[in-house]
């Protein structure tokens, strides 16, 4: 065993391990905050996403994995952001962005 590993073992022994309850709380705060945002999203979003992809796929040959759809909410206004990576006309990837804003 090298001196280094022995040293780190000794060091580890004296380090107070982080309290697991604190870790649990931090993890929960993050995941729950995230889930609360998605929980308020309308149910039709995933169905609409599917339809939109169908429509785009009808005209352009796209990789379905390369489609991102996001709903952002700002005061009184929801922004639907659709990101499609269009496969290149000249072997170059081109990013096209369609944005639609709806007022609620």
């Amino acid at each position: 065993m090298s001196i280094q590993t022995q040293f780190s073992k000794i060091l580890h022994y004296f380090q107070r391990p982080q309290k697991t309850a604190k870790v649990a709380k931090e993890r929960l705060q993050i995941i729950i905050a995230h889930e609360r945002v998605t929980r308020d999203k309308p149910d039709y979003l995933s169905a609409m996403q599917k339809d939109l992809i169908e429509v785009i796929a009808k005209y352009v040959d796209i990789n379905r994995e390369d489609v991102k759809i996001e709903l952002e909410r700002q005061d009184g206004c929801s922004i639907l952001e659709l990101n499609v990576t269009l496969p290149n006309f000249l072997d170059k990837k081109e990013n096209s962005k369609v944005e639609a804003a709806t007022e609620f």
């Binding site: 649990a24 929960l28 995941i31 729950i32």
Partner: protein, 274 residues
């Protein structure tokens, strides 16, 4: 007008049935005519916890289907007068519960009872949704543990959107947090989420804290709801929770580590107020 209370949690095994049984007994002991309904169709267990498993003849689904009258299906509790149990069916038919059927039964019960306690199954399937759908109060049973807290938060989301009160935009369901299996010792050691940690995350009023207790298993073994074990910490904590539900303001007990008298004697630190 009768009040409907749903005991829910999302996660299984956190103490919904134990809680339903003890809260129902507690309410009946204070003189309120109470009925406790098992919504866990296919996995009935409230009857065992209440100690009436051998007296089940008809069940909730029989009543919904018109195969038995409500009076035939209701079992009179052997511990407290004024308390009745409506057992779940052991059918495997997932669609046995219908919104209309449950509505009719609850409407009928509302005429004669003060409190209707609905013991929800785990999960977010039909049984759980129907148990909460007509509720006026929700007791969210949570263990100080990550998966339970997360599931409770999910249930709070459903309570505020998938219930009759929410759909009719009436005053929302009154939410109560019941922290169960709490171990003050582990909290002190930093290995368990504390009351304030859970409270901070879920942010609903705290109805009670039930300590991890040997009495709970003893009670279920015997078929006597733990609230009847008046010497026990868990029993007393449930009694406190019932009092708080009825509007009393009580301090929380059993939330601090028990220290040995010798240790206390030699401790120089002033005891901090909670």
């Amino acid at each position: 007008m009768a009040q409907i209370i749903v005991v829910t949690s999302g996660k299984g095994g956190v103490g919904k049935t134990t809680t339903s049984a003890s809260i129902a007994v507690g309410l009946a002991e204070r003189g309120f005519k109470t009925v406790v309904i098992d919504f866990d169709i296919g996995l009935r267990n409230l009857d065992l916890i209440m100690g009436c498993e051998r007296r089940v003849v008809y069940d909730f689904v029989n009543v919904i289907r018109g195969e038995a009258s409500l009076n035939q299906a209701l079992i009179r509790d052997k511990h407290v007068s004024e308390l009745y149990i409506l057992p779940a069916s052991q059918t495997r038919d997932k669609d046995a519960l219908t919104t209309e059927g449950v509505a009719v039964v609850l409407e009928e019960l509302r005429k004669t009872f003060d409190y209707i306690v609905c013991d929800s199954p785990a999960g977010i399937e039909r049984g759980a949704q129907l148990a909460m759908y007509f509720a006026d109060h929700a007791i969210v049973v949570t263990n100080p543990e990550v998966s339970s807290v997360r599931d409770s938060d999910r249930m709070l989301g459903l309570l505020s959107s998938k219930t009759k009160r929410a759909e009719e935009s009436r005053e929302p369901i009154t939410e109560h947090l019941l922290l169960t299996r709490y171990s003050p010792k582990r909290v002190t050691k930093g290995d368990m989420l504390s009351i304030s940690d859970v409270n901070e995350i879920l942010a609903i009023p705290l109805l009670g804290v039930i300590p991890e207790s040997q009495a709970v298993l003893r009670a279920s073994n015997a078929g006597d709801p733990v609230i009847l074990d008046r010497e026990s910490d868990a029993g007393q904590a449930y009694a406190d929770a019932v009092s708080r539900f009825l509007g009393q303001d009580l301090p929380y007990r059993f939330i601090e580590e028990k220290t040995h008298w010798l240790k206390r004697l030699f401790s120089f630190k002033e005891k901090e107020a909670v």
